[in-house]
Subunit: 307 residues, 3 copies
């Protein structure tokens, strides 16, 4: 997994996770010495995502890299230029790393075939979003004390697992960290691969609390499933009743996570989003350090994790 390309977290090992999180931690503490001076990092976003783009840009800039951003708006994409031609162009422009966000599953892997630059997957369709999962582990490790203390804890992944690339990355990451994972979702939002995952299914967030969840990880419900006549959920209100995280769930030390941006009142009630139980701002903060570490691996600045 920890090759120069950063495409997926499927099959990642506990040691690999620990390595990169250690690097991020040392870097975040200000004495990692990660320098990307003289390296060119290209952000190729074929799909809008403010948070992820800004986080990668800061991660690259603060480490001294030259950063080039291209996005679907006002770009060659409008002229029908394909992903491949864009990647070849960025390669020719001297990119050391290309961060790809794309609406199609497998786009990052495809891109990697056409460049010697390292490709970092910043989310491809309902495929993978590996740096999201890493920053989640980083934020969660900080909250519970350390990466090792994640082992044995219980996390309930709540909501639209079916369409979520975040789910496809955080579930293997949580498992590699030794956590116990359950899903909380209606049948209509569960993927067929759950057969392979063999995860328990719980019918509501209330049941997840009864199960003993230490962490409630709420997934974003895509707008198109809220506005149109979607056959997947009966109504937003009904969805929120069973799958929304509310104040009543915040007993003991339950932690609430969400990859953002939150639909307040749907996945998480408004008073919980910025409560003490919420790791949401910590997740955002973790993103910059984690992505600096990922870019350091990708560009060859860090060949191995810190000793």
């Amino acid at each position: 997994m920890l090759s120069r390309n950063f495409l997926t977290l499927e099959g990642v090992s506990r040691e690999e996770l620990r390595d990169i999180l250690d690097l991020a931690r040392v870097h975040a503490a200000g004495h990692g010495g990660l320098s990307l001076v003289g390296r060119t990092v290209c952000l190729a976003f074929f799909e809008a995502s403010t948070r992820t783009a800004v986080s990668f840009e800061l991660a690259a800039r603060r480490a001294g890299a030259d950063v080039i951003s291209i996005s679907e708006k006002g770009s060659a994409v409008q002229k029908g230029e394909s992903l491949i031609d864009t990647v070849v162009t960025l390669d020719a422009l001297g990119a050391d790393a290309i961060v790809v966000r794309h609406p199609s599953v497998g786009a990052a892997r495809l891109a990697a075939r056409y460049t010697d630059a390292a490709v970092v997957n910043a989310g491809d369709g309902c495929g993978q979003h590996p740096t999201q999962a890493l920053l989640d582990l980083h934020a969660l490790s900080n909250a519970v004390g350390s990466f090792d203390e994640l082992c044995g804890r219980k996390v309930a992944v709540v909501g639209d697992v079916l369409h979520s690339r975040v789910a496809r990355s955080v579930i293997p990451a949580f498992q590699a960290a030794g956590m116990e994972v359950a899903l909380v979702a209606p049948e209509t939002l569960l993927p067929s691969e759950n057969g392979a995952w063999e995860l328990p299914i719980l019918p509501s967030v209330d049941d997840a609390i009864d199960w003993g969840a230490d962490v409630l990880y709420a997934l974003r419900l895509q707008n198109e499933r809220m506005t149109s006549e979607s056959p997947r959920i009966p109504s937003v209100a009904e969805y929120a009743r069973y799958y929304g995280v509310a104040r009543r769930h915040l007993r003991d030390d339950v932690l609430v996570m969400h990859p953002g941006p939150v639909n307040r009142g749907v996945e998480i009630s408004g008073d919980v989003v910025l409560s003490d139980s919420s790791l949401i701002p910590a997740q955002v903060a973790a993103g910059v350090a984690v992505r600096s570490a990922v870019l350091a691996y990708a560009t060859g600045v860090a060949q191995k994790a810190v000793a």
Copy 2:
């Protein structure tokens, strides 16, 4: 007013204005030593504004800051992320200052409640636009010799005062600088708060000249008031006849100002925009130095004005 946040110029004192303009002047002269190296300045523009965004970006970049720009286009705003969540996100990303432009009055003040970063108001609805007023004073001070020489001069603020955040910032700023202010506008474009301001109302730019105006400060007429069947002005031609600044007004040393972008032939005739009487390019030039000074205050680099 000169707290770390920079939200309004209402209630500003003459001394506070002088302090920050002094800092801008020293900085513009190249020996201010303002360094924003290691600081992160985020531009959060929920409304398009090339001039203001570029000016802030240059102000931050030239002083060495890391700059992150997010705009409504291609952003989380499209996903329904609220202003508050954006501010919390930028805070978590490590922003030292957040420059907010927003279509709703009070947005900057609201933002400031949710972050420890300093919030700089870059225009919020028909609320305030404090750095515009500061750069106007800076450009005008340079033109007449010094800030102190502004005292006692007469400025006519012309046009759509009702909908103008610029008016709400420049009027208190001009008054704090000791200038005499009159308004030139039709009744339909005058705000109700003029009762509080107690400013004289003049019926045309010709009358402003007769009044003895040293400065004609023309406000932008928003497109929607020119194109649609607006009940506020009879016609663009009629508006230009009474409220447009023309060559015939340029006698003696009258100075013409405008916050930009100008509707040529409406607020100001085309031959006046770049004439010797026009301070418009000087206003733009002043923006960078003034905003560097504001960001220095905001990030705590400058705690007090130069001695």
Copy 3:
């Protein structure tokens, strides 16, 4: 031609071309010492062009310049601000060089009248695109060994010459380099000025090969000529048959060039775009070094080419 402004390649001499390509070559090799630190380069793109914008941005950034990009999206252009006012604004903001891309022919020359900053034409309507021609010569010189070895070689410029600013720049550049130029295009896509150029017209790419072409330079076919009921070409398939570069043309050492982005299967078949005969990635790569050299001239950092 090699004044501080960079508007056209018409009338360029062989010596001027060699000078700037030498500077680009030395710079690309990493010992040019071109430093744009402290200079402000503004990209004013009134027309979308990812490749060109990114290439200029990298060229400026890697040399240390402060770069400001404004584009039609989300900009003052939407507010009706004219090219002239934008240029005056950028001038007032302290721009040392303004790179202009605009849909109207002559826009760059017009811009240059309103600023003391150097204006670099990054493509204006069907006018000129001089840096494209320079990077083409640079990539081609590298491919054949040196600039001097271009002399006497044959290049066929294929496709929509009529609407192509690239054609209007590469043709005089190829001629100044001593190359023999022919056009391959239907009558409907040939400009009237070909009378002045006095270039041979060939009816198909097959004929260009028979003519002995060393280089096939394919021009982009604009989308509007492919999608609508254009009277200029009978059909895209028909166009591709006569004017498309295909695998069968790649005998001997024929080189294939295209300014990008390619319409695969139209101007060039998909299997040729990234083949060994294709210089397309090399053209992109050449752009950064060439544009650094151009910006060095434009900002006065390089007053003369290297000795």
